[in-house]
């Protein structure tokens, strides 16, 4: 366990204290998750998408630190009213980090994880509909790869350290 100073910004603290769009959405069109409890870092996004492919509503649940909660919350704000194509193209982890006023570098992965979950949600939406989208690449994006890597890492580490279910 290593420690670093974590001087969160006012915006991160505000979103941590009063998260916007928190909670499960019963009528969500698509639900996507990134991370897992072993990571200590996990986000679920719920998106309500209309026939014009516009995100009408977005909400989240988060198992993670203050940065994880804040980035997940800000992403739901950023998503609202966006067309899926611009959600895919315009919401990058760097932009998310900027929106919360910056993050300590060890917390960049929180923004990456959040954007990874958004991209997963959009892919899933088209899969559910059974249609292909011209602007979604076959290959996983940087954020999706990073999310996958973090999930795998936690699993491998847990296995290597014999933290199995039976213990």
């Amino acid at each position: 366990m290593s420690r670093v100073p974590l001087p969160y910004t006012q915006k991160v603290l505000d979103l941590f204290r009063n998260p916007k769009n928190l909670g499960k959405m019963e009528d969500a069109t698509v639900v996507a998750i990134s991370g897992n409890p072993a990571c200590g870092d996990m986000i679920t996004f719920y998106l309500k998408i209309n026939d014009q492919e516009i995100i009408e509503k977005a909400s989240f649940e988060s198992y993670g630190c203050a940065a994880n909660i804040a980035t997940a919350s800000i992403v739901t704000e950023m998503l609202k009213g966006l067309r899926l194509e611009s959600a895919w193209k315009d919401i990058t982890w760097k932009k998310v980090t900027e929106e919360v006023g910056g993050l300590p570098s060890v917390k960049f992965h929180c923004g990456i994880l959040a954007v990874g979950a958004v991209k997963r949600a959009i892919r899933k939406y088209y899969e559910q509909k059974g249609v292909a989208s011209s602007w979604i690449p076959q290959e996983l994006t940087f954020e999706e790869k990073q999310a996958l890597e973090e999930e795998e890492l936690a699993k491998t580490l847990a296995k290597r350290l014999h933290v199995a279910e039976e213990k």
């Binding site: 366990m1 969160y8 910004t9 928190l22 996990m42 679920t44 580490l157 933290v163």
Partner: protein
């Protein structure tokens, strides 16, 4: 970044009650201790203890008398067995590296437990580069050393074994005498070191009765100033110094002795040992009230470490399931309750506390762990306040987690 911190601090304005329970990681220093130190900065004994003038001789007298007192509290034979170091980290570095290098002609194997503090674990990693192999002995689900495995591990090649008397995170009091007997029985030449920082001032401790060769104690763990600790080295035990410089009153640690800090450490020790039993009972009673109160008010919790008299009297380490630890520390801080977590949310490689992993806690359980230590300065009202605040804080964080994070 400093501007951010100012904003974070401003968010704490209006707090009505503050309770500091993060005594594992740093502590407040009581006024009596600070008052005892102050004259030694500018009124007396500010000289170098090896030089031939009054302030120097005053410093010499002060340091020797302090070493005498610390040696008594530890149960050492003579004051020369005490070496003051700038802290527990340095004392553990000196113990392991100093003993390994001084005896490397004999053997090259070091035996430690899986739950030794970081400043022991990392030193053994460094020593591997110098050809010293390390064997880590596993512990059970409460953190007790597996004595059978210890017996298997110690052999003729073993130069040193290092086992903490009390685990700093989960409060497990090790069967140290049994461990030492096993080590000495398998190899009488092997040295035995114990980091006794979390035992000092909390459980009866006597290095001569225990027959340990080396023992570490630290000042801030007993509410003394940071930046000072001591290593006990039994008379006749061979240890090399690990830093070069001007040697003063102590053979094993160079540089000018820090007299005010030594005075503060000694004063803190005197306060801890003055009414030892009453002090211990007080932290014990408050810890029980704290732990029982938390378990009484919330579900989905796990106590980390043993129950009963094999647990340090001040330690409460509890995993709040479905609740991420770092988020909880911030939520509690905003209400004036200061604790730390074994969560690993501050790094990409998300490895939580090695101690919690070693006792078989799942990662998700370790991420929700909170460590608290009571002191004799806490009051019943403090604990009542903490018990008031924790359920709503945990409730809010669990509310953010919702259905996510349930594995």
């Amino acid at each position: 970044m400093v501007e951010n911190v100012k904003e974070l601090l401003k968010a704490h304005e209006g707090i009505t009650h503050e309770v500091y329970l993060d005594n594992e990681n740093s502590t407040m220093v009581p006024k009596e201790v600070v008052d005892a130190m102050l004259p030694y900065y500018s009124q007396r004994a500010y000289g170098n203890p090896t030089l031939t003038h009054k302030p120097g001789w005053e410093a010499f007298e002060t340091i020797m008398e302090s070493a005498q007192k610390i040696s008594k509290f530890l149960g050492a034979k003579i004051l020369e067995e005490i070496t003051f170091t700038p802290g527990e980290t340095e004392a553990n570095n000196l113990a392991l590296m100093g003993a390994a290098f001084a005896n490397k002609h004999k053997d090259k194997k070091i035996v430690i437990s899986e739950i030794e503090p970081i400043n022991v674990l990392h030193v053994t990693e460094l020593l591997q580069k110098f050809g010293f192999a390390t064997t880590k002995i596993p512990v059970d689900r409460e953190g007790f050393l597996n004595l059978e495995k210890l017996k298997e591990a110690v052999d003729k090649e073993t130069v040193l074994a290092s086992i903490a008397t009390v685990n700093n995170e989960i409060g497990t009091i090790q069967p140290l005498k049994d461990a030492l007997d096993i080590v000495k029985d398998k190899n009488p030449d092997a040295l035995f070191h114990t980091d006794a920082s979390d035992a000092y001032g909390r459980i009866p401790l006597n290095v001569q009765d225990l027959k340990v060769d080396l023992a570490t104690v630290g000042s801030y763990k007993i509410l003394g100033p940071r930046g000072i600790g001591a290593l006990y080295v039994k008379e006749g035990v061979n240890v090399d110094k690990i830093l070069e410089g001007q040697i003063g009153t102590q053979k094993l640690w160079p540089g000018v002795e820090n007299t005010p800090l030594i005075v503060g450490f000694t004063k803190a020790s005197e306060l801890a040992f003055h009414s030892f039993e009453a002090n211990v009972n007080r932290m014990h009673t408050l810890r029980d009230k704290l732990a029982d109160g938390i378990f009484g008010g919330l579900s989905d919790l796990k106590l980390n470490g043993p129950k009963g008299d094999k647990r340090a009297p001040d330690n409460a380490n509890i995993s709040f399931l479905r609740c991420e630890g770092e988020a909880l520390t911030i939520e509690l801080s905003l209400k004036g309750v200061y604790v730390s977590s074994g969560s690993a949310c501050s790094r990409r490689l998300l490895q939580p506390s090695h101690v919690l992993v070693a006792i078989g806690r799942r990662f998700s359980e370790a991420h929700g762990s909170i460590l608290m230590k009571t002191t004799r300065y806490h009051t019943e009202e403090d604990i009542t306040y903490v018990l008031d605040v924790i359920p709503s804080a945990v409730g809010r964080i669990r509310g953010i987690v919702g259905s996510t994070g349930v594995d």
